[in-house]
């Protein structure tokens, strides 16, 4: 079983029903944990498994859970972040549409570990098929006694709801997500207090990514060592990697953590389409730094990608080819970030539209040499430490690395007054 998360994904996209999931061993982990394990033992196991958050930040999941005060009065909340909106990312969709009970089982286990009695799936608006599938699966789980009062006669109670969003990238940021669930604008909150202490409605709350939660049943069933051994490197488990852009076979594949960029692009995605040359890629969504040809042998795990100057992010790569304008590529990204800025803090609200405008000017062949200095100024002043949340620093990652690796592309347009 080297693809635990996607082993049951069917080519025709029919989701697993409750019976089919149970027949394949589903909900065994819930039986095991709720009947034979203490909540803290589940957290310890997940800590030992070295599972890191698959939403992009890569924080240790067990560690995150351990910050929840166990003696705090209920309610406590467990939230699945299914607001997959990072451009270039399409991995959670696969899990949501195909194996809803795997997510629900992971959520029950996480809720049990932190002793939460309320759970939400925060799903983005566009995932209509997923909304249908998850709704049915939650109903099935209630009917079978996996949700509700006194689950499997163990005395553990858990209610679960699906919340579908109404747009905005900001909802993926965990504290902004909490505000949105409370019926407010999705602006981020100051930390501390961290959501683990004071989250949804001021109660202890854990927000985990869908792929992260889907790993939990397998860790409970098979142990921490087994999970670590799935990987070929220091970061544990498998990862759903993806490649999009002008490659022969764009797609997503569950692979051992630690495959190289080259394996992804050349083997799994079949290499570049005829007539296109690889120039670089954002390894994990729109808010990660470009890696280029010299990095093709970098291993796609949190540590190695960071050492190469970028972030693993969501693990879904967007390829830049030689027929595509670098300036146009970056402008498209900055347009997205400028539009999705919540407007709460000034550098992000004012800086991002300015960056987009400068890039637009350069793209049209109307740029000036000092524009590059202005862009560089922004990469520093919109960087970490100067904004309220990670949106603007994330937006600066592709820009700063484009200026580093593809500076000539910018200069050509500026000096020769040609448009992209």
């Amino acid at each position: 079983m080297n693809k635990p998360l996607t082993q049951h994904v069917r080519p025709d996209g029919r989701p697993l029903t409750l019976q089919e999931y149970e027949k394949a061993g589903g909900y065994a982990a819930v039986r095991k944990a709720l009947k034979d394990m203490a909540p803290q033992a589940v957290t310890t196991l997940v800590k030992e498994s070295n599972l890191r958050g698959r939403g992009g930040a890569g924080f240790l999941t067990g560690m995150k859970w351990s910050f929840v005060p166990m003696n705090a009065p209920k309610p406590k909340y467990l939230i699945a972040n299914a607001d997959e909106m990072e451009p270039g990312t399409f991995k959670d969709r696969i899990l949501l549409e195909n194996t809803p009970h795997q997510l629900i089982e992971g959520m029950i286990l996480a809720a049990f570990a932190i002793q939460a009695d309320n759970a939400y799936v925060f799903l983005r608006w566009a995932y209509k098929q997923a909304a249908k599938v998850i709704t049915t699966a939650i109903e099935e789980a209630y009917a079978a006694g996996y949700l509700g009062k006194n689950i499997l006669g163990t005395g553990f109670d858990l209610d679960m709801h699906l919340h579908t969003g109404v747009g905005r990238y900001m909802c993926g940021e965990e504290t902004a997500l909490l505000n949105s669930l409370e019926g407010k604008r999705a602006t981020p909150r100051a930390k501390p207090p961290f959501p683990q202490i004071s989250g949804l409605f001021g109660k202890p709350t854990i927000v985990n990514n869908v792929e992260t939660l889907c790993c939990i049943p397998h860790i409970v069933n098979n142990g921490a060592e087994w999970f670590k051994d799935l990987s070929r490197g220091s970061d544990a488990g498998t990862k759903i990697y993806g490649v999009s852009g002008n490659v022969k076979r764009p797609g997503a594949w569950e692979l051992p953590m630690n495959v190289t960029m080259r394996e992804l692009v050349e083997e799994h995605a079949g290499g570049m389409r005829d007539g296109y040359r690889f120039r670089g890629a954002l390894p994990g969504g729109a808010s990660t730094d470009f890696l280029v040809e010299e990095h093709l042998d970098v291993k796609m795990d949190y540590t190695s990608v960071a050492a190469a100057g970028s972030r693993l992010g969501t693990g879904t790569m967007i390829v830049l080819d030689d027929q595509t304008s670098v300036v146009g590529f970056v402008k498209n990204l900055e347009h997205f970030f400028a539009q999705e800025s919540c407007g709460f803090c000034t550098p992000c609200r004012e800086g991002l539209p300015w960056v987009e405008k400068i890039l637009h000017t350069i793209e049209r062949g109307e740029g000036k040499p000092e524009d590059l200095k202005l862009l560089e100024f922004h990469t520093k002043y919109l960087g970490p430490g100067n904004t309220f949340c990670a949106l603007a620093p994330g937006a600066m990652e592709p820009l700063q690395s484009a200026l580093k690796y593809f500076r000539k592309d910018f200069e050509m347009l500026i000096h020769h007054k040609i448009s992209a």
């Binding site: 566009a126 747009g167 669930l181 993806g242 764009p250 797609g251």
Partner: protein, 154 residues
């Protein structure tokens, strides 16, 4: 005036949360589901029902991309304009749709059939370019498929 049906649906959403106001996004969704968009009058009605000021509710309504505060057509076309779809040529798809329907982004056809909007990444990047019409997702789209797709919606 909110209809009885709308009020009942909003009440159901309120039951799921510990604070009445927390269901205000759900309430806006209910009204939009029934009326396609949220007019100033509807906004005031919802605000009163939720024990909020209209200004407070509007600050929420106008924050989210998919709550419509202006009239929209019977069908909403959401064209993905994010990075993978841009690389794979969404602009050609959009140009074709614009020409065929005689509208740009943010506009509605004269017959009220379609409103076309840009949308951030639809999360189907391995099948770019992509767009949605209402609840239906179209992937790996080429311009020669567009006429047939548009005819499906009346």
């Amino acid at each position: 005036m909110l209809t009885l049906e709308e009020k009942q649906e909003i009440e159901r959403a309120i039951h799921q949360v510990p604070l009445r106001k927390a269901a205000c996004i759900e309430a806006l969704k209910v009204v939009q589901e029934h009326r396609r968009w949220v007019s100033d009058e509807s906004l005031k009605d919802v605000a009163a029902f939720m024990d909020m000021s209209p200004a407070e509710l509007d600050s929420v309504a106008t924050f989210y991309n998919l709550i419509f505060r202006r009239p929209v057509g019977r069908h909403i076309i959401l064209v993905c304009d994010s990075i993978s779809c841009w690389v794979m040529g969404y602009e050609k798809i959009q140009a074709h749709l614009s020409q065929k329907l005689n509208i740009g982004f943010g506009e509605t056809t004269l017959d009220g059939r379609y409103t076309m909007l840009p949308n951030p990444c639809l999360g189907t990047c391995d099948h770019a370019p992509a767009f949605m019409i209402d609840h239906d997702l179209y992937r790996d789209v080429t311009t020669d498929q567009l006429d047939a797709i548009l005819e499906k919606y009346t």
